[in-house]
């Protein structure tokens, strides 16, 4: 087919719904063989971007090439070479697990004899080989998601699109999905995924863009983004007054604010960067233990202090002033 090394190319890609700008003139490239992520909170424009790449939603403005083709002119041809795992499962509830793969494969015009063999392989791959004859509904959320991934692979796609692949799954189910996606990555399957979980982005993505309000805020590998924007470590300080029982909170809220301010001042006096997140102060430093020692020496008596490595969550907070998962 002569597919170029750049599987997706977007320039000033824009999606508007009436007056609402869902995706605001973003640029990005996805290279063959990499796992590329869109990290951002709900409403950042990730799903709209995915739907445009998936050729099920026309772009409003800009340029988009997928697999070297134009989605407007070649939508069906492009879709024939994509695998799509949508945010909400849309497995066929009227079909068995096995038929979900075969019939879906028929939508792509693949011969039934080929599909039957492939369906067995794929069900084994997602550890559902023993559920082939089952209906879809009794499957757990994690099983359904794995079945959706198997279904997306039935046409041996050049590019796999995963929209929030583990949202709503319990931790064990998430790890099973991650492990399968990791295997696919090692097999060289190019993946584009959206997520609002920084651990998912850190674990899976070679490269990612951080999205907020329809725009791309920054781009790079997880490690590069952390190195660029935040210090090595973070000290999380929780003021003492919040550690008390809830009764004190009513009349004590001003006191909490005052205490947060006091902690902020203290951290900043020590020459470090600090942010407030609801009930905590995050202090960015290259040596967490040293900062904690200094704060203690200055008379800080918080309810809890936690020193940890910086993550993409911190990058997002610093770039946007908000957290990825809003209360």
């Amino acid at each position: 087919m002569g597919t170029p090394g750049t599987l997706v190319e977007a320039r000033s890609l824009t999606k508007r719904f009436d007056d609402f700008v869902a995706v605001d003139a973003i640029d990005f490239d996805v290279q063959r063989g990499e796992v590329f992520g869109f990290l951002g909170p709900n409403g950042a424009g990730k799903s709209s971007t995915m739907r445009m790449i998936g050729c099920v939603s026309p772009l409003t403005d800009g340029v988009l090439r997928v697999l070297g083709l134009d989605p407007v002119a070649d939508g069906p041809r492009i879709r024939g070479r994509l695998g799509v795992v949508p945010q909400e499962d849309n497995l066929d509830l009227e079909l068995s697990v096995f038929d979900n793969l075969v019939i879906y494969g028929r939508y792509f015009g693949i011969a039934k004899s080929v599909l039957r063999a492939r369906a067995h392989e794929l069900l084994d791959f997602v550890q559902l080989g023993d559920r082939a004859a089952s209906k879809v509904d009794p499957l757990s959320g994690g099983m359904k998601r794995r079945l959706t991934i198997a279904r997306a692979l039935v046409n041996e796609p050049d590019l796999l699109l995963l929209d929030e692949p583990t949202t709503g799954l319990d931790p064990q189910a998430r790890h099973l999905v991650w492990e399968r996606l990791w295997r696919l990555k090692q097999d060289g399957v190019t993946q584009v995924l959206t997520t609002h979980y920084m651990d998912e982005a850190e674990r899976l993505c070679d490269r990612l863009v951080i999205m907020d309000g329809g725009r791309i805020v920054d781009e790079g590998s997880p490690a590069a983004l952390v190195a660029r924007h935040v210090t090595r470590e973070v000290v999380e300080v929780r003021p003492a007054q919040l550690a008390g029982n809830d009764l004190e909170l009513d009349d004590g809220s001003e006191g909490v604010d005052a205490e947060l301010e006091a902690v902020l001042d203290l951290v900043r006096a020590n020459g470090e960067r600090a942010e407030v997140v609801t009930d905590r102060v995050l202090a960015y430093t290259d040596d967490g233990d040293a900062l904690v020692a200094k704060l203690n020496a200055d008379g800080l008596r918080p309810a809890s202090v936690l020193v940890r490595r910086s993550t993409l969550e911190d990058v997002f907070l610093i770039l946007t002033g908000r957290t990825l998962i809003e209360g």
Partner: protein, 264 residues
């Protein structure tokens, strides 16, 4: 791509439905036989027997012979109404299998056409069943009766093409019972199904004439009696033309509403 015609995207839609039907066909076949038996017993034998014993004929036919083609076209159209609403909204919303199709090379227009093709196949089977049952009742006078099958299917499509187009614009099924009650049921009763159109008040006749069922009933009746109604071939062409208008207009709108719904 040598097998384009048999491997068209619309056929893939039908394959999905056929796979589901493989599990359900016994129950469906049973109800497809029972319904015409009950209708023909009640209207043809029961009511018809009373009319005949009073020495009456309708347009020169026994009541059974008159009502059988009417019932055939009317039950097909009535069932096509249901098939065009709830399963279609399920595809869009409740079960979202149209979404899966849209992620494949199939286009929204393929989905729309595939659904119509499935409805055509389904009601070919249903109307053939009806025709066989009616033949056993002695209600079919002519071998031309086989043409009642395409006539009834044409009626089903004349309803399904615009109705599925409309359902693509709906977010819930609140209006569906109203359509059944205020469109399908009156059409079922007053489209020359049970009595000639001339029995209707003059002002109502154009209303019945403007709806699809009257035309598929007329075509079915011409076929099963082997006799052309007044108007002859000219009327036959007219019936087909009006059903074709319904299908064509519905098709043009349906391609657009399906695309708007599935690719926004």
């Amino acid at each position: 791509m040598s097998r384009v015609s048999l491997d068209a995207p619309e056929v893939r839609f039908v394959e999905r439905e056929a796979t589901i039907q493989r599990r359900l066909w016994r129950g469906n076949a049973f109800s497809q036989i029972v319904a015409p038996v009950l209708y023909l017993l009640a209207m043809g034998v029961g009511l018809g027997g009373m009319i005949s014993s009073a020495g009456h004929k309708v347009d020169g036919l026994s009541y059974l012979e008159f009502v059988a083609p009417g019932l055939m076209a009317a039950t097909v159209l009535q069932n096509a109404t249901g098939e065009s609403m709830w399963p279609v909204l399920a595809g869009f919303k409740w079960m979202r299998f149209y979404e899966g199709m849209s992620a494949s090379p199939m286009t929204p227009a393929d989905v729309y056409r595939g659904n119509l093709l499935w409805i055509a196949i389904r009601f070919t089977v249903a109307s053939t069943t009806f025709l066989v049952v009616a033949t056993l009742f002695g209600a079919i006078l002519s071998p031309w009766g086989v043409l009642a099958v395409p006539a009834a299917v044409l009626g089903a499509l004349a309803l399904a093409a615009p109705l599925t187009a409309y359902v693509a614009t709906q977010d819930d099924d609140h209006k569906f019972p109203l359509i059944m009650r205020f469109l399908t049921l009156p059409m079922f009763l007053f489209s020359a199904t049970f009595f000639p159109l001339s029995q209707l008040p003059a002002w109502l006749q154009p209303v019945a004439w403007a709806l699809p069922l009257y035309h598929s009933v007329s075509l079915c009746r011409d076929a099963t009696t082997g006799t052309l109604a007044p108007g002859g071939w000219f009327a036959v062409v007219g019936h087909i033309a009006i059903l074709a208008v319904y299908i064509t207009v519905g098709y043009r709108i349906g391609r657009r509403t399906f695309t708007r719904r599935l690719a926004a």
